[in-house]
């Protein structure tokens, strides 16, 4: 009964029928309350987003897999302390982290969110070394600023590691694949080995039992994950579904399979002789099979895949030979798997569980030939002609962590080799690009991304990384283009769309921005990026309260989304609520200490509050994180100037001017500083230059007018003030300019030339028409006269 229930649960999971799975699993657990079953139940809950349920059932469990699942539930419920305790029990400092790379990755995340970046970095690096295809671990390292160069991470040893893992997996996988088509063949082949099976199974059984604890028993995961032979996905490990499968092997499946196989007995011919070598254990081809065409190719080549390892183990467990593997496979979610598995299973007396055993003889053979057997147990390696016998050591495999069967068919060891090196090469490029953009060396990052092949470049993720790089370079037009393409390429993907909305905000494209926001909300109302876009839309229209509400919603949806906190901070500042602004920026920094926008925001608040030392400190940190941003440099310079360190201020401005030729601000600030230092001539020079560059900027003329007035060059001053006013500055500036500039000038003019009536008249009309009301002039006349 247990096996049937397990099978049923697996099946439901594979078909994403979570409620059924949960119900049946609860019956299973009630009937056979074993820890492995509780793991299966927890897995079902986790798939159905009920982390709290999984938390309750797994509380206090000790098996490695249970501890891992428990940690996942705690993490999802934000109970980081408990998650950490589960993975790394305080009283057993030397206990091994369950699930290898996945466990290290989860531990790394926990440390990151509890502010222990050094330990986090350590664990991410461990995870990567165990499984070089764990991309998100590398991503996290980049975000923490501690990533090594991609070439040293994704290098030869990584390739070897991947190959080892996948060659083993490949066998079983191939089997599966082949099975579809070689259904017959397989059966035939296996026919002979059938009798071997039980023995093997038993053997596997024992092995499996040993190994199971370390495995992820989430059949659940396998159900879900089985359908995705993910490469290098981070959560891959989660989805390894080794053991639970094992548990399901009870007699249920075998019979049908046998039947299946029987008729096909003679047909086989494929690969070789049933190598029933003895200890070959079955390995259940685990992953989903893709299509028959591929299967055809594979025929004859049985590669054990990581999947198979699981399945084999599982198979072994249950003692039902092919059945089990078939079950396992089925559990794995490959849709066609069951029948394939069945056949392949049979064919497999030869199937081998994949266990990556470092450097065993698997390499020996002709994969082409056919069935490979792998010895499940170290001690036996069957080397039949076509099989490589690598003793699989599940434990070692597990330690390596990733058992991601490669998607697709790895049909030969050479293909595995080239496949592995291709994958690692791809990851190398992507990793280098990502690392450079996290270090804000955006131009370099862009160059690296351009090296990608077109089919990868034109995907949503890469294009939005490119967009981000342009955004950091303050090249908003290019960023707009890149993000637009990214959105076209994957309209359902929201990653990076928050930055896109900021780009549109900077470009003041309110139509595009509101369209984007609407689209994102309709795609996913529960994603923080959609609400960030909506908030940016309102902020552009200066409706800061509504914008703030939207950003707060984004924060509620995902409190670990640093950018939403920063945007909240910006809105608080616009509303002049500095307390809350500081709080928001600090929350953002707690999540991501390298989020230079938040450092900048804090610096701006302190600048406004005239706390210049604080402001300088914060701008300095922002500058250290992103040393190429000319905007940060110019604010740092402003802070220096406010602290009366004008020399340093000027230096910083020079740097800023050099860093980005298109940024007019540093020049303006430089002129300001020079005016503050009473170095008016140089200031005027700078402003003249700036005038060429930005002829429509009212503040430039206003500042020039001020300088001319100081020098008593009233004509020029008047001219410039007039120009400044023509450019329609806001009312405050108009008032300021008129007050500081005009009246004293007029007064001076009149006193100087009061007897030249024509001049007065012309001046009066000139002034009248442009600046002041006749009445006020009258007041002046009365004063003068």
């Amino acid at each position: 009964m247990e096996a049937i229930l397990i099978d049923c649960v697996q099946n439901s999971l594979r078909h994403f029928l979570y409620r059924n799975a949960i119900f049946m699993c609860e019956r299973l657990y009630a009937e056979f309350p074993s820890e492995t079953n509780s793991q299966l139940l927890a897995g079902c809950y986790l798939q159905n987003n009920q982390a709290y349920s999984a938390y309750h059932i797994l509380k206090g469990t000790q098996m490695a897999q249970s501890r891992y699942l428990f940690a996942i539930s705690c993490f999802q419920m934000d109970l980081l302390n408990e998650a950490e305790a589960a993975l790394c029990p305080a009283n057993e400092p030397s206990a091994e982290v369950p699930n290898g790379a996945a466990g290290h990755y989860l531990l790394g995340l926990i440390y990151r969110y509890t502010d222990r970046s050094k330990s986090a970095v350590h664990h991410f690096k461990q995870a990567l070394s165990l499984d070089p295809l764990l991309w998100t671990a590398y991503e996290e390292l980049c975000i923490l600023g501690a990533a090594e160069e991609a070439t040293s991470v994704f290098d030869e040893s990584a390739i070897l590691c991947v190959q080892k893992q996948h060659l083993h997996h490949g066998l079983a996988y191939e089997n599966m694949q082949a099975s579809g088509e070689d259904h017959n063949l397989v059966s035939g082949r296996n026919f002979g080995s059938e009798d071997v099976c039980p023995r093997q199974l038993k053997h596997m059984n024992t092995n499996n039992l040993r190994d199971i604890p370390g495995n992820y028993h989430g059949a659940v995961a396998s159900g879900g994950a089985a359908s995705q032979p993910l490469n290098g996905g981070s959560a891959n490990i989660f989805y390894n579904t080794p053991s639970p499968m094992a548990t399901q092997f009870s007699g249920a499946a075998p019979p049908p399979i046998c039947k299946n196989i029987q008729p096909n007995a003679g047909v086989l011919g494929v690969e070789g002789s049933p190598r029933s070598t003895v200890n070959s254990t079955i390995q259940a081809p685990r992953r989903k099979f893709v299509d028959e065409g591929k299967l055809r190719k594979i025929s004859g080549r049985l590669f054990s895949d990581s999947g198979p390892r699981r399945s084999t183990r599982l198979a072994g467990e249950a003692g039902a030979n092919s059945n089990s593997s078939i079950n396992t496979v089925a559990g794995n979610g490959a849709s066609h798997s069951s029948k394939y598995l069945g056949s392949s299973k049979l064919s497999s007396a030869t199937f081998r569980s994949v266990t990556v055993r470092k450097g065993q003889s698997w390499a020996s053979e002709n994969f082409e030939e056919g069935i490979r057997h792998e010895v499940y147990d170290d001690s036996r390696s069957n080397v039949t002609t076509s099989c490589s016998s690598s003793s699989a050591d599940i434990r070692s495999l597990e330690q390596e962590g990733a058992t991601m069967p490669t998607a697709g068919v790895v049909t030969s060891s050479s293909r595995v080799l080239s496949g592995a090196s291709d994958i690692v090469a791809l990851l190398r490029t992507l990793g280098e690009g990502y690392r450079l953009s996290c270090m804000y060396r955006c131009q370099d990052a862009l160059d690296v991304y351009l090296k990608l092949p077109h089919k990868h470049y034109n995907t949503g993720w890469v294009l939005s990384q490119v967009g981000k790089a342009y955004f950091e370079l303050v090249d908003y037009l290019e960023a707009d283009r890149a993000f637009g393409l990214a959105h076209l390429a994957s309209p359902y993907s929201l990653e990076g769309m928050d930055i896109y909305s900021t780009v549109l905000y900077h470009l003041k494209e309110d139509m595009k921005l509101s369209y984007l926001a609407q689209e994102l909300i309709s795609t996913d109302r529960l994603a923080p990026q959609s609400w960030c876009a909506m908030g940016n839309c309102y902020s552009l229209q200066k409706d800061h309260e509504t914008a703030l509400k939207n950003f707060q919603r984004a924060v509620q949806l995902n409190s670990k989304f640093a950018y939403a906190h920063t945007l909240c901070g910006h809105e608080y500042v616009a509303l002049e609520d500095f307390e809350n602004g500081i709080r928001s920026y600090q929350s953002a920094l707690r999540i991501d200490a390298r989020h230079y926008n938040a450092w900048y925001g804090l610096g701006m608040i302190y600048l406004r509050q005239e706390k210049f030392e604080f402001s300088e400190h914060h701008f300095l940190v922002a500058f250290q994180i992103n040393p190429r941003s000319s905007v940060i440099m110019s604010y740092l310079g402003t802070a220096f100037h406010a602290l009366k360190r004008s020399e340093e201020a000027l230096e910083m401005m020079e740097k800023a001017i050099l860093a980005d030729k298109k940024n007019p601000l540093p020049m303006y600030q430089k002129a300001n500083i020079l005016v503050g230092m009473e170095n008016f001539d140089e200031a005027l020079e700078v402003l003249e230059e700036l005038k060429e560059y930005a002829p429509h900027e009212s503040s430039v003329y206003a500042l020039m007018g001020k300088i001319y007035k100081r020098h008593n060059m009233y004509d020029k001053a008047m001219l410039h003030f007039g120009l400044a006013l023509d450019l329609k500055p806001p009312a405050t500036d108009v008032a300021t300019i008129k007050v500081i500039g005009l009246f004293p000038l007029i007064h001076h003019c009149f006193t100087q030339i009061f007897h030249s009536s024509t001049f007065i008249l012309t001046s009066r009309s000139f002034i009248n028409s442009r600046f002041v009301k006749f009445q006020s002039l009258g007041a002046y006349f009365s004063v003068i006269n």
Partner: protein, 191 residues
Amino acid sequence: MAESSEGEEEAKLTGGNQHLVVDDDLREMAKKAAWSVSSCKPGNGVLSLRDDNLDTYWQSDGAQPHLVNIQFQKKVKLQLVVLYVDFKLDESYTPSKISIRAGDGFHNLKEIKTVELVKPTGWVYISLSGNDPRETFVNTFMLQIAVLSNHLNGRDTHVRQIKVYGPRPNPIPHQPFHFTSREFITYSTVR
């Protein structure tokens, strides 16, 4: 001496706008201010002046002049006061003479503007600026809007909404002037 006709004149304002249209460089200032009224009828209190609902109104309940007091936490620059009044709906309750006073508190309010409304129907804009550019804004702790008399000699008054506007602060701190051109604005902040 040339005639100096600067002074507070009474302005006559007729009509009223259906839509509230305000310059982009102005923003509503009185959200964080303390509002109070000299008297009110229960159910038609000061909240109705700020609820963005033109159907609810404040109704006074005492002797003239009826006062609306707006007190800020710090000195603010104000430029424009906008009232929504409707002669067609309120007839004898519609204010006709309004005086605006400013100062540090109740003890030193000084009148800065007086307007006379003639059958207004909608938003009425009352600018606080003087003629002098130095008087574009009124820099004050407190603003008081006094309804001195109503149409048709009504005793009590109805006012449906009041908004007070001032200039936006410079988004870039420590800058003497605002930036107007696109290039400057784009490079002036990190978002």
